[in-house]
């Protein structure tokens, strides 16, 4: 039983085949990179995996159970988290509150307990305090403590990306999907994010699925790589193999 597998995934929009028969497997505790030129279907694949799109054909399995066809919030509950390429933060909320959303599924306070939170001994209060402590740790690891109370829309782009990552980590996921983490970053920031992702795998044993446009970063981080073009798989295997694969080179350089 593989940790995570995609089989025959296809996604059709009207007349357009955004994804066509994509299959791959991810080993637990590894970093798996997905590369390909713009429009090759990478984000579409992510959207299918976390449930925003329903696959037209194909199945997705996580820890032996099928997740394709489930709604995103159910998939999240299975232990799958993801970040977005175009940052989908809760703009007017503070860093802390953004990360606290990551704790949503681990908390149980509902309507009545929430309204009736009077005093620190109530269940709602204790749950808040516990989860805030957890989130505080995540913020520390990502150097976000300084901006904890600032509305995230005021933060610089690079910081926002870290908040986006922090939110996903606050969910305590088993599988993390990271969509173009280094977009818009300079080389230092890129190296930094690479180190962070590596340490997430090494220290926390997190399995990471990574879309990365920057070829070097994708190759450096990955244990295995999948290359897409026009929604189809053109290469799948060890980083160096994929990088030097003729189809991949052609896709990135263009034909003629």
């Amino acid at each position: 039983m593989s940790f995570f597998s995609v089989r025959g995934l296809s996604k059709r929009f009207g007349g357009l085949d955004a994804l066509d028969d994509v299959s791959f497997e991810v080993e637990k505790g590894s970093i798996f990179s997905v590369i390909g030129p713009n429009g090759s279907g990478k984000s579409t694949a992510f959207n299918c995996i976390n449930g925003i799109y329903k696959p037209t054909v194909g199945t997705i399995h996580f820890e032996g159970e099928q997740i394709s066809g489930l709604k995103p919030h159910r998939i999240a509950r299975r232990g799958l988290a993801r970040t977005f390429q175009n940052i989908e933060l809760f703009a007017t909320e503070s860093t802390v509150d953004n990360l606290m959303l990551g704790r949503h599924q681990h908390m149980r306070t509902g309507l009545w307990r929430g309204m009736g939170m009077l005093g620190r001994t109530t269940r709602a209060a204790r749950e808040e305090a516990e989860n805030r402590a957890h989130v505080e740790q995540v913020m520390e690891t990502l150097d976000l403590t300084a901006v904890r109370d600032r509305p995230v829309q005021e933060l610089p782009y690079g910081t926002q990306k870290r908040v986006e990552l922090g939110r996903a980590l606050a969910m305590e996921p088993k599988l993390l999907l990271v969509d173009e983490p280094s977009a818009g970053m300079n080389p230092e920031e890129r190296a930094d994010i690479g180190d962070r992702l590596r340490s997430l795998r090494d220290d926390l044993g997190l399995t990471i699925l990574l879309i990365e446009h920057h070829m070097q970063l994708a190759i450096d981080l990955a244990d295995r790589v999948l290359a897409l073009n026009f929604g189809k798989v053109i290469a799948l295997g060890a980083p160096d193999e994929v990088r030097s694969h003729p189809e991949v080179i052609k896709a990135y350089l263009g034909d003629g």
Partner: protein
């Protein structure tokens, strides 16, 4: 770097520190004494404003937090009012039962409206809620069971052995409920459910991705918000002694939206402030001429250039302008203005200390 032991509860604590406790005690004391200090005929005004606050709290949850538009909240208020009165007249229920029943029935209709709301965004949702509000008034206006255009008379009510007659007894009931609901709404906002609501407003896709069942919470938001309006409706019926469909018009729904916008979407303080202001304006619209200085001036202007009977419409003009100015210049509403004032004061204070240190160093 020093590690600090953060009191995480402080983030969400209602009364963090002695100053806050004192403020609350003072506020409660003022509220308790107010009806005995203020001239008798003004107590009705205070009650009216408090009822608006209750609706405003509900609107804040739905529109401010969850980002869903409602142009039909007068409908929920009507449902609450009529349920309450009919429970008392037809079922012989005491007010103690009629009130929660009104909340329940309104909540149910809120839930019903929440269902189509799941598929609708922005303008479509606004239209749907508009249709709902108007449909409610149409039905209660034409159904003989509801007393038709003439409306219904509210029977005498009591809270257990205590009779609820007269503005003062109404005051303590209404304001008491308002304070409780304000605290409840505030608590809701800072905990898990409130965060889920705001996540839906800011990015439903991200919210769903993080495990928030958007459908559930959207519907919950409508349900809770409707319940608040229903409670307000029930209390309004008590105050007026009489309910009729004409009260629950589209323009009232507009006022409800206006007050949370004007007060500042997304903040309880804003909602309360906006509701107090709009509640007052709505009630006193018929007596514009009584405003000192401005009143007679408007009256004269009105007699000269406008329709003699049209003066109360100034209230609508004012409300409309308040909405427009708020959106154009300070979308955070009164609360935003308050924040700016706070910033300005803080700035002045800082400049003061800087001068001191400069003087000290020199």
């Amino acid at each position: 770097m020093t590690s600090r032991e953060l009191d995480h509860y402080a983030d969400v604590q209602l009364l963090p520190g002695k100053a806050a406790v004192i403020k609350l005690v003072v506020l409660l004391a003022v509220l308790a004494v107010l009806p005995f200090v203020v001239p008798g005929y003004r107590i009705f005004t205070l009650n009216y404003m408090a009822i608006f606050v209750i609706v405003g709290l509900g609107m804040s949850i739905l529109v401010g937090d969850t980002g869903q538009v409602s142009l039909g909240h007068a409908g929920f208020m009507a449902i609450g009012a009529y349920t309450s009165v009919l429970a008392m007249t037809e079922l012989g229920a005491p007010f103690l039962i009629a009130l929660p029943l009104a909340a329940l029935v309104s909540a149910f209709f809120g839930f019903l409206l929440g269902l189509p709301a799941l598929r609708l965004d922005g303008p479509y949702l606004a239209i749907a809620t508009l249709g709902f509000g108007l449909a409610v008034t149409l039905i209660i206006g034409h159904g003989s069971f509801f007393g038709g255009h003439m409306g219904l008379v509210v029977p005498d009510a009591s809270l257990g052995p205590l009779p609820l007659s007269g503005d003062i007894s109404h005051y303590f009931l209404i304001v008491g409920i308002t304070v409780v609901l304000a605290i409840a709404a505030r608590n809701l906002g800072v905990t898990r459910v409130g965060r889920a609501f705001r996540a839906i407003r800011d990015s439903p896709i991200a919210a769903e991705t993080m495990g928030v069942d958007v459908a559930y919470y959207k519907t919950l938001s409508f349900t809770v918000s409707a319940a608040f309006a229903g409670i307000a409706g029930s209390l309004l019926s008590l105050m007026n002694g009489f309910i009729s469909p004409g009260v629950f018009s589209f323009t009232l729904s507009l006022m409800f939206l206006a007050m949370v916008v004007f007060g500042g979407l997304g903040s309880i303080t804003g909602a309360v402030l906006g509701s107090l202001v709009m509640g007052y304006v709505n009630l006193r619209m018929d007596a514009v001429q009584e405003i000192p200085i401005l009143g007679p001036a408007l009256q004269n202007f009105s007699d000269a250039f406008m329709s003699p009977s049209g003066l109360p419409n100034v209230g609508w003009v004012l409300t409309g302008l308040m909405i427009m100015l708020t959106i154009m210049f300070e979308p955070r509403g009164l609360y935003g203005v308050w924040l700016r004032v706070e910033d300005a004061v803080r700035g002045l204070r800082r400049r003061g200390t800087r001068d001191d240190t400069a003087a000290g160093a020199g």
